[in-house]
């Protein structure tokens, strides 16, 4: 079941613009964090940084991987221990996270990978169903076997 992480952290005084710049410079960091369905980073007023994600658990490996990718941004947060200190990273995040009281999730029980595979199958299957219309039984069977082997 996909889990939610909602972290609200204080940015260091005078580092709001630097944090924004670091966010703008990010290049798809979550692609390198397996199990991430969805993630957002936002600078809110009164110097708060919001990091929220929906991911396939457990939390710690995900968090440690995310920290590695987001070090440039999180380093502007107060008391950030550095991505190279995994135990402290987990503790830092726990202290600043808020549990989701109520959730609505479109597909709560599938992992990122399962969803990807399912989407691919749906597309391939629909295309095959389209292209194989009108084939006689023998040809259809042969075509399907060939399609399946791809």
């Amino acid at each position: 079941m996909s889990a939610a992480l909602i972290v609200l952290a204080q940015l260091r005084g005078g580092e709001v613009d630097a944090a924004r710049a670091a966010i703008a410079a990010l290049d798809e960091p979550f692609r390198a964090v397996p199990g991430t369905h969805l993630a957002r980073i936002q600078v809110l007023e009164d110097r708060q940084l919001l990091l929220a994600a929906d991911y396939d658990g457990p939390l710690e490996p995900w968090l440690i991987a995310a920290a590695g990718q987001l070090d440039s941004v999180l380093s502007h947060c107060a008391f950030w221990p550095g991505a190279d200190k995994p135990a402290e990273v987990v503790e830092w995040a726990r202290e600043r996270s808020y549990p989701a009281g109520f959730s609505v999730v479109g597909a709560p029980y599938a992992t990122v990978e399962e969803i990807g595979e399912a989407l691919k199958l749906r597309e391939r299957l629909t295309r095959f169903a389209d292209e194989s219309q009108g084939l006689d039984d023998e040809a259809l069977h042969a075509a399907w076997k060939a399609w399946r082997a791809q």
């Binding site: 609505v104 990122v112 023998e138």
Partner: protein
Amino acid sequence: MRATPLTVISPIRWWWKPWVRFTWLIARRAPMVAAPLRRLRFIHFARWTLLPGRRLLFLTSFDGSDIQYIDAFVRVVPGRIDALYKGAKGFPGARRFGPVARYIDDHSHRPVDHFWMAHPDASVRMVQQALLLVPLYHVFEARFKDADAETFAREWRRFLGTAQRFL
């Protein structure tokens, strides 16, 4: 990317905090509370949490236009929206689109500086359809992969007929 993110922070009245916690307790045990919201099928993720300073945080990502999103809440689940927001300062009630749209506009935090999705071109509905299609297909494949051509063709068409709403 199909989905749009939204971040809404609502200041709430002191007495709303315990009430909202209580309703969430019930809602987590009663799937029928979230059921119509899920049946709307455009919410990838929607999460509500309470922040310090008596603020209700709402994070969501949804398919389609924001007009449709708000319209759906107002026309299909206004009771549930009221149950979440009745005690939010300045919330006009969930029964009319115009005031709710203005409320959301006033309390939205934009821009969402960085937003990422694993499958950006997939809508919630596509994901759900795909996840329903997979086991149906695997059952068909397991049963008929070694069948003769005539049986295979007949069963393939039957499979397509059964699965067509997921294609």
